[in-house]
């Protein structure tokens, strides 16, 4: 029994905590009023945390910790502190104790309760929805989309100047002949990807033509009766007939209301969860070994 207690990670933790508590008196400022003792974060605790959570050997956990960038280290420390606080709270409520799996379950239960609370009390008022919508317009934007067809001249097997002459000649022909969107396919050369791009956003244009072409084509206006160009892509030259360009726009409140409700609920849930966590952490002193990261 005594042996197994000595092997119990929490005991190590407490012992390490007591040692650090002494250090803390010397080096750290005391956080304000706390009642439930101290959460000590040192390198050993961090490594053990990674080891348990990801089921890895101590050596691998240590190596992983060392390989993490500073920002990720802070995230691990934050998770550790929160987990410990939630765990102690769950224990204080008399939920079960035991191995690490049980500990994670207890923590998940507490977390569920903390986030779940928000959902019960969450009955969004029309005004709250509107306020959120107005304050977070970027969340309700629709990316720019374009519809165009193109006539293509490759520049790998022929000189750029030859291609340019061909394209210019073709441009005159297309416009003089009032060649329509679907008739454009009778001109130019076979293109490896699509001939027509219908209601597509910028990423696919970047993927198929390159970033420069995409930036240029989105700058052009829709002129359903006028072929424009030539534009250069990484494949060659293109004459384009742009049927429609829809710029980035923010959904009207009425269109986006469903998204607003979801977003506000999630935001509210995060807020309540943080508040719960802040209140919980206020019950503890947190001492983090210098250099390990910060908990904001």
């Amino acid at each position: 029994m005594a042996r197994s207690i000595l092997r119990e990670p929490l005991i190590h933790f407490v012992v390490a905590g007591l040692i650090l508590f002494g250090l803390n008196q010397l080096f750290f400022e005391q956080p304000s009023q706390t009642s439930n003792g101290m959460i000590v974060v040192d390198q050993a605790a961090v490594v053990q945390f990674i080891q348990h959570r990801q089921n890895r050997s101590p050596e691998d956990a240590f190596a992983q910790w060392q390989a993490l960038p500073k920002s990720s280290q802070s995230k691990v420390v934050k998770d550790l502190v929160e987990e410990e606080a939630l765990y102690r709270k769950a224990k204080a409520f008399g939920l079960d104790e035991g191995d690490y799996v049980i500990r994670r379950r207890m923590v998940q239960k507490m977390d569920f309760a903390a986030a779940g609370l928000t959902e019960t009390e969450f009955t969004p008022q029309a005004s709250a929805l509107l306020d959120y919508y107005e304050a977070h317009q970027e969340q309700f934007s629709v990316p720019a989309q374009i519809t165009f067809t193109h006539v293509y001249f490759e520049t790998e097997k022929r000189a750029q100047s030859t291609a340019l002459a061909l394209a210019t000649q073709s441009l005159n022909q297309l416009n003089a002949g009032k060649v329509s969107f679907s008739e454009g396919g009778q001109y130019g050369e076979r293109f490896a990807y699509h001939r027509n791009y219908v209601d597509r956003a910028e990423p696919i244009i970047v993927d198929h033509f390159g970033a420069d072409f995409a930036a240029q084509v989105f700058q052009l206006s829709a002129t359903p009766d006028l072929w424009q160009g030539p534009l250069q892509s990484r494949h060659g030259l293109h004459l384009v007939l742009i049927a429609a360009v829809t710029p980035t726009r923010v959904l009207a409140f009425s269109e986006g209301k469903a998204k607003v409700v979801t977003a506000l609920r999630l935001a509210e849930q995060d807020k309540r969860r943080s508040a719960f966590m802040d209140a919980l952490l206020a019950e503890y002193q947190v001492a983090i070994e210098p250099g390990l990261g910060v908990v904001q």
Binding site: L68, G116, E119, T120, Y193, V261
Partner: protein
């Protein structure tokens, strides 16, 4: 202390009721309504217009349409699919009992959709993970058996804790045997009498939540989130799983709960349940069979699960409900097997052929023909000759079957299957499911479903799957067009409007050819372009399967287009290998070999009009470092001896069938 505990339990219960009541409240809430009234309207007008255009085109011919009808929407003047959309039809979250048991305790369907749309996520190994390019669609297909149950049990949700199953699980935990609870997922399928399935009321509440979440993330024109689940039939450890995929919104999908293998493990009963759904709701649904490679001969069988020879009724229902098949995924590639196709030098590719999913029985050679797509397509021809209906007339897609909620297929951005196979130095040498299953180096960073459709909506994508105008890749975004017809000219493929010609004079992948002109062999147009962010192309091949006059099933692989400067050896008939630029030490490669795109016209040189046949296209990339090689370089660890160092990722199209 006791009071404190009671208080917490009350909060927890209250919170879980709250979640349910919140979910219920949003049934009448805005997401569903907006799906119905808002963005669907313009697209449905468009699709009605283009459908009527198609009918008229059939009556009057294309010319008449072009002259007499100016389409409502200019781009829909083209009456064919112009976009290829990329997605994953097979992905799990913590709502799956096995995923939850094996460490995926936090990532939800909402997380799956966010990740698929390009948002950064923190994986279980603590690393941040993000797709280089977002997906266009996703099916979250959690296991139907105890769907959402382990998570909800764990957090004390009374929907689950107050069921008989929940009571049974509490008993196991009180006895100090939580492993027994985890085993009840599989046990409930074998023995639903002693391992209680959830009652329908609980199933419905959980299903409502799943379906509503899909509706919330479904944004017509931007991103398609399908409702779906996985029916997890296992018979004697043989995998007969099917992903069930709905075309519809909450109003229809929520009317019936998922069909579980606790109710029946017979696919015919699943099809009956799907028929009932369509009859009850007026909606549409399909099933996609799981890669057959761990079914030990049961995926494309000669007999039903009861041992009866399959008949015309079975054949027509299978073809009706299972129009597409998952040919490749993380647990192996299932296009072809070297034992079945000894003359195909590329058939030996990422095969998993040791045993079944339960690891209860080793693989025997006779099983293989009932597991691999090519042989199943051939068996389908023989069945059609015998029964009048082809039960295995399927198109193909790839998907991941990831259980850690992050759908990844790239060799240099591969996050494994379960949390234990997320990137870390030991993942190549550990084994799946707490060392119970196969070594994780075997995992394949595969695959994607590519869908040719007019727009990115549930309806357009579902309809494309139904007409099999889809293809599979092992993780790259290779673009492939494939048309078959009787009158293509060799010059058609070089024309800028070859796609329009393909649709005018022929059928696309997934289509049928019948009754050709006398003494003419079918002609094909094939165009493949490399993944713009990936490896160059090695070659394009046509794979033909047919039933000869004696009734024997035959196959032949034709190299039809390849990158420059290589010859077919006159003696062996083989095209010279493309070579390799892979540097194993640094896990890098160069696109200095291969082609950026390959296009060709092809006519079958050995056509016999009296023999039924199918044709599909396989496109191979040049070799690149396999994910294991990427891992070895990144973590500075040794590669397992057996792990292939490089990989030629590839695309498989749905076939075009010829029926005399």
């Amino acid at each position: 202390m006791v009071g404190g505990k009671r208080k917490v339990m009350r909060i927890i219960r209250w919170a879980s009721f709250a979640i349910v009541s919140f979910e219920l409240s949003s049934i009448q809430g805005i997401p569903t309504v907006s799906q119905k009234t808002n963005p669907a309207t313009p697209s449905s007008i468009k699709s009605i217009l283009s459908q009527s255009g198609l009918i008229l085109a059939g009556l009057l011919g294309q010319q008449a349409i072009a002259e007499t009808e100016k389409p409502y929407s200019l781009p829909s003047g083209e009456h064919y699919p112009q976009n290829v959309y990329w997605g994953d039809t097979h992905l799990h979250t913590r709502n799956s009992a096995d995923a939850y048991s094996l460490g995926n305790q936090n990532l939800t369907p909402a997380d799956a959709y966010r990740f698929a749309r390009g948002q950064e996520t923190i994986a279980h190994n603590g690393m941040t993970v993000k797709l280089k390019r977002p997906l266009d669609f996703l099916v979250v297909s959690d296991h139907a058996e105890y769907l959402g149950g382990y998570y909800r049990y764990n957090v004390g949700d009374p929907i689950v804790t107050e069921t008989t199953a929940g009571g049974q699980w509490s008993g196991y935990i009180a006895e100090g045997d939580p492993a027994k609870m985890m085993a009840s997922f599989v046990n409930s399928m074998q023995d639903p009498v002693n391992n209680y399935p959830f009652p329908e009321a609980a199933q419905r509440l959980i299903w409502d939540d799943v379906v509503r979440t899909a509706d919330t993330f479904n944004e017509p024109g931007q991103f398609t989130a399908f409702s779906g689940y996985e029916w997890t039939s296992m018979i004697d450890g043989n995998n007969l799983h099917r992903v069930v995929l709905y075309r519809d919104d909450f109003d229809q999908v929520s009317q019936l709960p998922p069909f579980t293998s606790q109710t029946s493990r017979d696919p015919q009963d699943l099809w009956r349940a799907l028929a009932k759904y369509e009859e009850t709701t007026g909606g549409q649904v399909m099933a996609i069979a799981h890669n057959g490679n761990i079914s030990n001969g049961m995926m494309f069988p000669n007999v039903t699960v009861d041992g009866q020879p399959i008949d015309a009724d079975y054949a027509s229902r299978r073809a009706r409900w299972e129009p597409i098949y998952e040919v490749t995924q993380v647990k192996g590639d299932g296009e072809a097997h070297p034992t079945l196709s000894p003359n195909d030098e590329f058939a030996d590719f990422e095969n998993w052929d040791a045993d079944n999913i339960g690891r209860t029985e080793a693989k025997e050679d006779w099983m293989l023909q009932h597991e691999y797509a090519r042989s199943a397509l051939k068996l389908g021809l023989a069945k059609e000759a015998e029964l009048g209906v082809n039960p295995f007339k399927f198109g193909v897609i790839g998907s991941t079957d990831g259980h850690n909620t992050v759908s990844t297929t790239e060799e240099d951005n591969f996050f494994g299957k379960f949390p234990e196979s997320e990137p870390k130095p030991e993942r190549m040498t550990n084994a799946m499911a707490n060392d119970a299953l196969w070594k994780n180096w075997r995992l394949v960073a595969s695959g994607y479903a590519a869908v040719w459709a007019k727009e990115n909506t549930r309806a357009a994508l579902f309809d494309a799957m139904k007409r099999r105008e889809v293809y599979a890749t092992t993780g790259s975004r290779i673009q492939v067009r494939f048309f078959g017809g009787w009158s293509f000219d060799a010059s058609d493929i070089h024309k800028p409007d070859y796609v329009a010609r393909g649709y005018q004079k022929g059928v696309p992948m997934g289509g049928d050819l019948t009754q050709g002109p006398q003494s003419t062999a079918p002609t094909f147009l094939i165009a493949a372009a490399k993944d713009p962010d990936g490896a160059n192309l090695d070659r394009v091949q046509v794979i033909k399967g047919w039933q000869d006059a004696s009734g024997a099933l035959q196959e032949q692989v034709y190299d039809v287009a390849w990158s420059a400067e290589r010859m077919i050896d006159a003696k062996t008939g083989k095209l010279e290998a493309v070579g390799s630029t892979v540097d194993i030490e640094t896990a890098t490669y160069l696109n200095t070999i291969g082609a950026t795109d390959l296009a060709t016209y092809w006519q079958d040189p050995n056509f016999d009009a009296s023999e039924r046949a199918f044709y599909y296209v396989r496109v191979l990339e040049i070799p690149r470092p396999r994910w294991t090689t990427v891992d070895a370089a990144y973590f500075g660890v040794d590669l397992p001896d057996e792990a292939p160092r490089s990989i030629q990722d590839r695309a498989y199209t749905s076939p075009i069938w010829y029926t005399p």
